[in-house]
Structure formats: C-alpha cells, structure tokens
Symmetry: C2
Subunit: 445 residues, 2 copies
C-alpha cells in the first residue's frame, strides 16, 4: 500500500498496487498493524496515500490532525470544500439527521428550498435538477440523457480524463484503464495544453474535437456528446485563456451532440470566478454534473439540465435514486451554498489563489517548474526539463511536503503536475507556508 | 404527480408521470404550492407518492409525523431499517461528522472496525469488502467484477427485477424500461412463483435459468452470471421454500457464470433468519451486494466477494469511490449493525413477521387475497381472482390504508402485490393495526 506520491485515483492505483508487496517496512507498529488489517478486509481495493500512511484523528478548516501528533495543512482535499467540519454544515446535518431522513417521494421544504437556491445559480435554460449521491452517478445519468437526446452513443473526452467509477463512466475515463483502452464509442483528444496546440489553443482544441467526431462518424458510430471537466484537472489543470472552450462546444453541437460540463472538480466556487467552471468560458452547457464539494463530505451530487432533455429521458426510463434528495443531503448541501456566500469563499479563492499563483510563478524561474496553471484555488504546477516531464520531482516534493506538514497530490498524463486544491478557506499565510516549503525543497533554502 | 398507488420505483414512475397532468386538483393550498414548485425544479424527475402527497415533519421508530398533523404507521420504508432516527445511529453520525469526514485513502479505526464486523457475518470465502455509496453502485461494480472473472458479458435476471439506476444496472433491471426492453446480453426468466413452476419450484426455476443461459450462448453471447434479489421483492416477493435457489445457482456455475446475490432488499436481518437472504437458501454467492438499510438512511452501500475476484478486477481497472468508506458512513453503518444486535431485530422480524403472516393468511379466506408470501418482515400479499391479477384492489387498499394512517406500497409485474417491509422495530400491535385496517377495508368490518 505504500507509494511515493499521490496522483488522481486511477494512476494512483497502478502505482499503489505495484508497491503493495513491500508494505510494512519501517512503519510504526500501530500503523503497520492497521495496514495489515486493512489489506485483509479491503484486499486489492485498499489503496493508501504515502509511504507511511496517515491516520486521521480530527480535522477543522484547512488543517488535519493525525495520529502522529502533527497538524497537517491540507492542500489536497477538495471535498471538504468550505473547510473540514464547517460548523454550519455540521449543525445542519446534526439537526436534520435526528428529525427525519427519508427518500424523496414525500414533500420536503428543505429539499425544495435547496433546489431553488442551487438552480438560481445557473443560466436560465438549465432549470431542472436531478439529485444523485455521487459525481459518478451524475455523470452516468448525464451520458444516458445525452444519448437519449442525441440519438447517438459516442463521446469525446480528453486523454487523461477521469469522470467516475460506474461501468459506463469508466468507459469515458481513459485514466481508469490500467491495461486496454476505452471502447470504440469513446474517442480521446489531447487536453487543451498550450504546449500541444500552441498560440491558437481555442481553435486547435476545437479542431481536435471536430476531428475526433468526424473519425467516430466515419467509423459508423453516432455522436452523442462532448464531456469535459471544465478545468481539466486530471489532465494536469488547464484553465486559460478563459473562453478557449467555446469553439469546441460549438463543434460538438454542430455535429449534433450535447455538451456536458463536469463540474465535480471546478464547481462550487473553486475557480474564484463564480460558482461554475463553464462560466469562465462563456458557454452554457446542455448538462452540468456536480459532485465532491456539494455536501462538504456528505454524499450528495446531482445534475442540472434543460427540462425537455429530462422529459425525453424520463419518457423511456424510470429513474429513482433512494438516498438522493433526502432531507439530510439537502440540509448539508444548502449549508454549503450558504457557507460559500457567508464566508466569502469565491472571493477568497480568487485572492488567495491569485497570491499563490503569483508566488509560484515567481519561484518558477529558479526551479524545474515548467508551468504554473489554473484558476482560483485549482492550480497545477508542472515539472519538466530538457529530458521531458519530471514526475520524480513531483513525487519527491509530495513526500517532502508531507515531512513539512503539508498534504498535496499530483495529476497529469505523466504524473508530473503538482495539483493544488485546498479547502477554499485557506489563507494567504497558508499559501505562503506552502510556497516557502516548496522553495526550501526545490532550491534548498 | 398524483397517483393512486405505490409500486416499486420503475412501474411507479410510469403511473405517476401519467398522472401529472391532473396535479393540483383538490390539494390543500400549501401542498399544492409545494407540488408546483417541485414540478418546476425537478421536472419529469419529480415523482410523489399518493393522490395528496405527504409532507413529512419528523419520524421516529416506525412512525412518521406529517404536516397534516397525523402520525402514520410506516409499513413501507425499509431504508430506516432499525427505525426512523434510531438514537444510536443519530448519535454516531452527530459525533463523527464533527470530528472528520475524509475519503478512504487515509487510515481510519472506525472504517476498519466496521469492515471486520460486517465481514464476520459472511461465510469464509467472502472476505473482501468494497464500500460504495448506493446499492446501484454496488450492483454496477458487481456486474463488472463478474464480467472480469467470467470473461462473459451476459446476465440472467427475473422478469420484473430492479437492481438500480446506473446505465449498466438499468440494463439488468427490466422493470425500469417504460418502452423497449433490455439489450440482447440480458435474458429474463419468470420469477420463482409457484403459480408458474408448480410443485417443483426449485427445479423449474433452475431449468428456466439454464434455458436462458443456453439460448444466450446459442446467440453467441458469453454468459457472465445470474443476478437475483434473494427475496425477489420487485417480482412480488418469493421466499419459499427455503433452499429453492440452490439448483439455479448450480446451473449458473455449471455454465461458467457467477452468482450475484442482491441483498439490498432482504439484507440486514429483514427475513428474520439471519442477516442475509441467501443464507435461507443454503448457497454461498460469489458476490453479495448491499444497499438501502446499511446506514439507516446515510448513503452507504457495498459488496463483498472473494479476494481473487477483486484482484482480477483491480488488475485491469482503477476503482475509487470518493464518499465511500468515509468515517461518517462507517460510523452510521456500524451503529446499524449494533442496533440490529442490541435491539434483537432479527428475532423481532421473525416474531412480528410470523404473527403478521399468520393473521394475513387467516384473512385470505374471506377476501380476494390469492397468496400471502415472504419471510420475516418482507411479506407480499397478492390480490387476484378469476379475472386475473387485481392491481385495482392493491391500489384501493394502499389509498385506504393511508386514510387509516398506514403507509404501504405494491410490487409485482402486475402491481397487484401489497409489499410489506416496515422498519424492523415494528411491534405485534402495529401488525395488528395493519391487519385490522385491511380487514375493515376488504371485508367491511
């Protein structure tokens, strides 16, 4: 279970499973015992972070307290997005879980109130909400709605995309394949990386999407839609220039497909420019999927779409999700929306993210940092030199930062991109602590 | 959104959507307003129970308090299986949600403790647990593991089966199709109904399964497995005689397939004969899937399987589930296991279920009840006469019982089976109240 760095789940599992044979070497006895028990219970599904796995005791805000007595600054976890154990979310769950927690075929004020608050944050045509329990369920349903609406079956996604864990969603998640490749109805394009498409990123990416669609159609597969994470997180974080996505969305629609914006990573204010990543690009998706940060850890997710798309789907299939839209899920999710507003977290993401990006960019000149990318509090720091991508540096840095009391991970096709996505309540002082530690580790002072 | 009776989700949605055009007639103003708002927010996905939908205010044990000032006895909801707002589960969630709630790539005592407690309830070869968030995710993963292990792609399921809502699981859920039918790799057999297979139910059902497999293979589709809900709830509840499932499982294995036991409905003690429905049949599944009652409303689910099956799957695919195996999910689920034991709920399911079945069987002679089936607190009461199945009687009864302050639903291919699955804490007095009310409504006294 030991591993030398953190990457997004799929690549992570490859590395981690490879490393399992050496488990237990040099671990503190209590940790070694727990690791061994875990391996017996969870088997091949047990994947842990770090050479010496972390055992958590409690967490608050941007800080995780571990069983080794240390307080770790959390620059990894985007699920507790308004802060670990945010008092408002904790209170909402505690209150409602003792009142009632039923399925959604009874009326409920809290669920209705939340639906209206959430839908008010979307552009007008996106006026119907389907609540689910996970981002995977949201994307799974989005694929089905897109197929129903388009009459097609094929999707275009990016090379190292990750959209979730169901059978259908794994097919559109190339990064989940440890061997083999996605089926013929899934076509892969290079991510919107300036290093690939040069100065004309928007048109280059759109041309790649149009080309993939044309090839799919030439192979006799009808096109259903373009599905992207609007900050391309598992591809290595690509956010700029704002608006670059619009021509690709146009290309997908011209070919009769839908545009699905996966907001599981950038959504709920992380980019510092409004609640949704797609809005930075001036596009209105046909379907928007949401997940991780929606309930700050309570399992709640969903999608919004146009009513006519949902009508068409529901005419063919019954869809019911037992735990979704429950009053406790809605209470948690409503508290998250309120916390984002009351705590000024979008402005904080812009301010602290901007400060962090400026300092990292300044640091780049004296280190093997080849690019600093991203928006708000979703940043990617790429390491590369004349030999190519340097995953080894990202890996060493992740372990070094852990020693410095900072948790962080990596992303990208080559695992060479440090992925920065802390709870949105981190401060400029926290950001300074991260950059100072990176500076010490990279340039030795 | 109005509808005249409750059936399992899929058939329900057909009826409910058909009835949406007349929404609002004769509803109390506050309910009508909430229904209209809900229709705007949730669109075609909004499906409600009852002609006058219920708005819940609070719930405890087997009782739901609604906004109409009435206390309803709950004979429908199997998710709050140890009782609505069970104090032990509420306390566990309240405690852990304020401590930490992270993903499962850090070590956690609670999650490990729960995994060991849960796995101890399964026969030895089933020693690996994968936690998910919903029964749908569990069945989706089970299909993938079965395909990986068997090399096949085809599944055999029962005629009105419902196993969940993802793209892949909908394919093996014939009851979710409002039009069209499952794809060619899914083959349907009649449920284990004595009215279909006669006195030799076990062999008849096994022959049907073997025949469906043979036909699938003749069509060039490799067989992956047999997937059944071990109490056949959405088919209309078929539990007897115990052991009848064994020859069908044998047939599936002879053909190179796996046996997946879907315990989302019968699991966690509901049958009154141990924790798991499959154990009544003396079989050991290759994969067991769990859902609804596992966290008493907290979204937690999972599957258990043999380590070698999970190894094979994980060698090909990365699988990670963000919200699953979180400490709050594990705390809720552990409290459920403890409540089942401490409150003696398996014995209560056997005792109250036995009493209820005896009284219903006694009632059958004087009413259009054609069969009383089931085990423990999962009972099906079928209505039929010389004209055939009588869904109209089940429907009238469901609405009549609501007037009497009792919530209940229906199941079966024809919607003619009253489905009895209350929280496991119901008492003999509650059961008497149900049967007395049914007697008043059916025989007028």
């Amino acid at each position: 279970m030991t591993m030398s760095h953190e990457i997004d789940p799929p690549a992570l599992e490859i590395l981690a499973l490879n490393a399992f044979s050496g488990a237990g070497e040099g671990l503190p006895p209590d940790i070694a015992a727990l690791v061994a028990r875990r391996r017996r219970s969870f088997g091949a599904g047990s994947v842990l972070f770090y050479d010496v796995p972390l055992k958590i005791e409690r967490a608050e805000g941007a800080v995780i307290h571990a069983s080794d007595g240390r307080a770790y600054l959390d620059f990894y976890n985007n699920v507790p997005s308004v802060g670990h154990c945010h008092p408002k979310v904790v209170a909402a769950v505690r209150e409602q879980v003792g009142r009632f927690n039923t399925h959604s075929r009874y009326l409920c004020d809290i669920t209705q109130d939340y639906a209206e608050k959430l839908l008010a944050t979307f552009p007008a045509p996106l006026s119907n909400l389907v609540m689910t329990c996970t981002g995977s369920e949201s994307n799974d349903l989005a694929l089905r709605i897109a197929r129903s609406a388009s009459g097609g079956i094929g999707f275009v996604v990016t090379r190292t995309a990750y959209h979730g864990n169901t059978a259908a969603v794994t097919e559109v998640s190339p990064s989940s394949y440890k061997r083999g490749a996605p089926p013929a109805h899934v076509r892969v394009v290079d991510p919107p990386d300036p290093a690939i498409y040069g100065n004309n990123l928007a048109q280059g990416f759109a041309d790649a999407v149009a080309g993939a669609i044309a090839q799919m159609q030439a192979d006799g597969i009808a096109f259903a839609g373009l599905l992207v994470d609007t900050i391309f997180s598992s591809d290595g974080v690509f956010a700029d220039p704002p608006g670059f996505l619009a021509p690709a969305v146009e290309a997908a629609r011209r070919a009769g497909g839908l545009f699905i914006a996966d907001e599981v990573q950038p959504g709920f204010g992380r980019t510092g420019a409004g609640l949704w990543g797609f809005s930075r690009h001036g596009v209105v998706p046909d379907i928007v999927t949401m997940g991780k940060p929606m309930g700050n850890g309570y399992p709640v997710a969903g999608l919004v779409t146009r009513p006519e798309l949902l009508d068409g789907f529901c005419a063919a299939f019954g869809y019911f999700n037992t735990f979704a839209a429950s009053p406790v899920a809605a209470a948690a999710a409503r508290a998250v929306l309120e916390a984002i507003e009351e705590d000024g977290l979008i402005a904080n993401a812009a301010r602290v993210g901007g400060h962090l990006k400026a300092r990292l960019t300044h640091l780049a000149g004296r280190t093997p940092i080849s690019a600093v990318r991203g928006a708000g509090l979703y940043l990617g720091v790429a390491f590369a030199d004349e030999t190519g991508p340097r995953a080894d540096i990202a890996s060493a840095l992740i372990n070094g930062l852990r020693e410095e009391g900072i948790l962080i991970g990596a992303a990208g096709q080559y695992g060479n991109v440090l992925k920065i996505r802390p709870p949105l309540c981190v401060t400029a002082e926290h950001a300074d602590r991260l950059v100072d530690a990176m500076e010490r580790l990279l340039v030795g002072r």
